[in-house]
Amino acid sequence: MGENSNSVLVIGGGIAGIQASLDLAERGIKVELVEKKPCIGGRMAQLDKTFPTNDCSICILAPKLAECYRHPNITLHTLAEVKEITGKAGNFKAKLLQHARYIKAEECINCGICIEKCPMRVDDEFDVFLRKRRAIYIYFLQGVPSIMAIDPEKCLYLTKDACRICEKVCEREAIDFEQKDSEVNLNVKSIIVATGYEPFDPSPLVNLGYKHLPNVVTGLEFERMICASGPLKGHLIRSSDRKEPKKLAFINCVGSRDMKYNPYCSSVCCMYTTKEAMIAYEHDNSIQSFIFYIDLRAGGKGFREYIERGQKEYGIKYIKGKVAKIIEDDDKNPIIIYEDMNTSKMKKFPVDLVILATSMIPNKDTPELANILGIDLDKNNFFLSNAYLPLDSSKKGIYICGCCRGPMDIPNSVIDASGAAAKAAENAIREG
């Protein structure tokens, strides 16, 4: 990459990174898009539907993935991480660590034979550990680039010098165990950080029973459970007895607005629990959902109407109150202990399945990346932004967008991403 070309480094290949890349590419600016996972798509790819339109998430995302892959101005670096940034606005030098994929990208046609034959079963991160994948795998079915990757920590050959079955069965000889991690050096004018979030693990809230009670799951797990391409093929059943749950309870603010865990509001849970309850109802009209909330936050466009629709057309019951304790009966049905604030009476409320709307928290490696980029974090470890320059990081030429600067929904991430693209373009031109 020559010094004179206008190019921007985008870190993170979720919806924010993708939108920023596409805007810049269409603007005529070259983009280096870095994603640490084997495929771009991010969290949005894991969701079943999206509020408030209830569009199928992957269906509206997939064309953008393909567009990113095909756009002449975008270079994808998957399985890659930013290791070092030097220089300043207008002339940053980035050093990427390109992890070996052990696959010849141009040869793999994603036929899947290697997956069938691979003997190693590994917890599938994309499906939030609800099913197993193999050591050779495609990150998710519609993933881009749609080629295999080998998990070096699980592959029998790479860990124990055995197996190599994939190599034998691949007709296209696409397996390449000789590949090594490598370094990629780039020159860019601006940097956009779009590294997203991860869900909070609610295990420390012991009284809610996550991991102790089989029929208490997280929102993201539910999202995969109910997704047609998920581990249950969209047939909602509970893991304890494989029965179809009929009564669902959603608990909002799990780990959020909580000084002991995450003091902030995760912005999206009131809406997405409503969405999940709606989808459940659409799968099975005999399902009844109850959403426990502190404040019902629906300030976005059409959000309040969405909640009303949830009440009227989907029979969702909203119950004011935070739940501190969930127990179970002998049939493993969770029992929610809560106060009905309308009457101030305590209730023991048995349901079939509980869904915990867990907080969005910063990615584990955010502090490390902040260090590499030389930008500040806020007190919650999100990247620090300024109220009136919301997309600027603390360093000139580096812009932040989407959930890496605080919890937000998809439209706001997309707005942020386009906005960061505008800032990055402005910087590239002014510092050019």
Partner: protein
């Protein structure tokens, strides 16, 4: 006659289709249809593998018609078309059949019948594909100028960014000065910076070489199409024309005046905006202040939550506390809207300052008496009384009354509350369905200053993707008027939602190719059948109807 070789690709869409329809039998059926020389299935046609397969088969079998039976053209047609093009096929020789949204999803429990329906749908697709004609896309020149309507914080921010990207920007404002609602605010949340400090951006805008600011000006007529809009604006001294490549709508919103609500009188019972003025002038000298939230919002008339009033109330309550620490401030609310990191922290800080929060339910709204407010306390299940010296009503931002006129001029839609309606709530939040027009700030939905700023940058970015180009390629499947049949009745001009048809000097309707989206309204409406909608010709549609068993 052309030798038609058709390829049919049937998509499983994971299990979205494959889980409910008998896809292999669809493949077998497709092979029996006229001119189908190749048929196969695909796990995900839109995946890279699926796409390469299509390309490979076009070349291998020398296909000159391609059908993908899968999801919806709304999201996927452009992708499949571009694949055909890459394989050397005219993209309009591609036809898409929707066997998911309109078949497998709606008949999940009836595999057999649904599979039969899918066969018919595919047969209809084949019938149409036989009649498809290659079409050419049009190239249009782009005027690298941006016109921004509205000089509030959103409009100014967008203007500055585009100008800094070295585009020519024209910013028009109906008021005599820039600044919008920001001019009336005292301090801003969450930092308590003076609004005037943020307003300083005005100087940068006014002095930027690339920005032309025109105040006391409103648009009266908008013509043209992406890259080539002509906007007529009215000034005191007459009407002027502005040529621009794109338009950004940043016209903001206004605060509801709560006439007749909760005893609003403008003196002891006032709005938050009026309170800002008192704060500016340091004129608060009462002790017990009660704020009521959702006044005129979240009710039958205005169902929506205005998004910014809770933070405004918290801010003003805290500012009063700063000026008058012994003041007792209560906020009567329904749900406190403080999303995210800083706002939730701000809410905690407001509680820390000793502000009293009382929740009310819509069934039992607060009653304002002479010196106290009576309200049913939902948390205690009983009525309580709060003494007051002053009441502050938090009213929503409502759409500007002139939005409707502007929407008509732009031929863009408004949503039910008369805010501008974007192309797609999720993924195209600042775009309109009409190309080259964008929206940001409270014209789109009640937005606070930080939100309006982010959106302004986003709109600027979207606009830059157009005006950075010299030429743009536009849709080929458009309407065409047969001049011999047209009688110049003008019905098509009225019905066109994209402002794409005009009357020429001879009284004959004329389609502006760059604006036409090929929606088909004109063709369906023309009493003389003078309009052909390419790619959806009467012949093609009739063939489909006949193939479905119609007569």
């Amino acid at each position: 006659m052309e030798d038609i070789k058709m390829g049919v690709f049937i998509c499983h869409c994971g299990t979205n289709i494959g889980g409910f329809l008998d896809v292999p039998s669809l493949v077998e059926y497709a092979k029996t249809l006229p001119n189908v020389t190749f048929a196969t299935d695909n796990l995900y046609s839109c995946s890279e593998v699926g796409l390469s397969l299509i390309k490979e088969k076009i070349e291998e079998h020398d296909l000159n018609r391609v059908i993908v039976a899968s999801c919806t053209p709304r999201t996927h047609e452009p992708l499949f078309r571009s694949i055909c093009q890459e394989a050397g096929l005219n993209p309009y020789l591609f036809e898409m059949v929707n066997i998911r949204d309109q078949c497998s999803w709606v008949h999940m429990k009836e595999t057999e019948a649904a599979t039969e329906k899918a066969k018919i749908l595919i047969e209809m697709g084949v019938a149409k594909a036989l009649l498809l004609q290659p079409l050419e896309k049009f190239q249009i020149d782009i005027n690298p100028t941006a016109l921004i309507i509205g000089g509030g914080i959103a409009g100014m921010t967008a203007a500055l960014n585009l100008a800094n990207q070295e585009f020519k920007v024209i910013l028009i404002e109906k008021e005599p000065e820039l600044g919008g609602l920001l001019r009336y605010l005292y301090k801003l949340y969450p930092t308590h910076d003076d609004a005037s400090k943020v307003l300083e951006v005005r100087n940068l805008v006014e002095n930027h070489q690339k920005i032309k600011v025109i105040t006391s000006t409103e648009p009266v007529k908008i013509e043209g199409f992406i890259g080539n809009y002509k906007v007529s604006v009215k000034r005191r001294d007459g009407i002027y024309d502005i040529d621009t490549g794109i338009i950004i709508v940043a016209t903001g919103a206004q605060v509801l005046k709560p006439e007749g609500l909760f005893g609003y009188n403008g003196s002891t019972i006032i709005t938050q905006l009026e309170l800002e003025q008192l704060l500016k002038e340091n004129k608060i000298n009462v002790k017990n202040i009660v704020m009521i939230q959702c006044v005129g919002a979240r009710n039958e008339e205005r169902r929506y939550c205005s998004n910014i009033c809770c933070m405004t109330a918290l801010k003003n309550a805290m500012l009063i506390k700063e000026l008058k620490p012994d003041a007792n401030i209560s906020i009567i609310f329904r749900d406190i809207q403080t999303q995210g990191t800083t706002y939730e922290e701000y809410y905690r800080k407001a509680r820390e300052k000793g502000i009293t929060f009382i929740r009310y339910i819509p069934e039992k709204v607060p009653i304002v008496k002479e010196s106290n407010i009576e309200v049913y306390n939902d948390y205690l299940n009983q009525d309580i009384s709060i003494p007051y010296d002053m009441i502050v009503l938090s009213t929503p931002l409502i759409a500007n009354p002139d939005s409707e006129d502007l929407a008509k001029m732009l031929k863009v839609p408004l949503e039910e509350n008369h805010f501008f309606l974007e192309a797609h709530v999720k993924l195209r939040p600042v775009d309109f369905a009409t190309d080259g027009i964008y929206v940001c700030g409270s014209a789109h939905w009640p937005a606070d200053i930080p939100e309006a700023i982010s959106q302004a940058y986003a709109a600027a970015s979207r606009a830059s993707t157009i005006i950075s180009k010299d030429v743009l390629e536009v849709e080929g499947a458009i309407a065409e008027v047969d001049e011999d049949l047209c009688v110049g009745c003008g019905i098509c001009i009225k019905i066109c939602p994209y402002n794409a048809i005009s009357m020429d000097d001879n009284g004959i309707a004329h389609v502006t190719e760059a604006s036409c989206k090929g929606c088909g309204l004109c063709g369906a409406t023309c009493p003389e059948k003078a309009i052909t909608n390419h790619h959806f010709t009467t012949k093609q549609i009739l063939a489909q109807i006949l193939a479905s068993g119609g007569k």
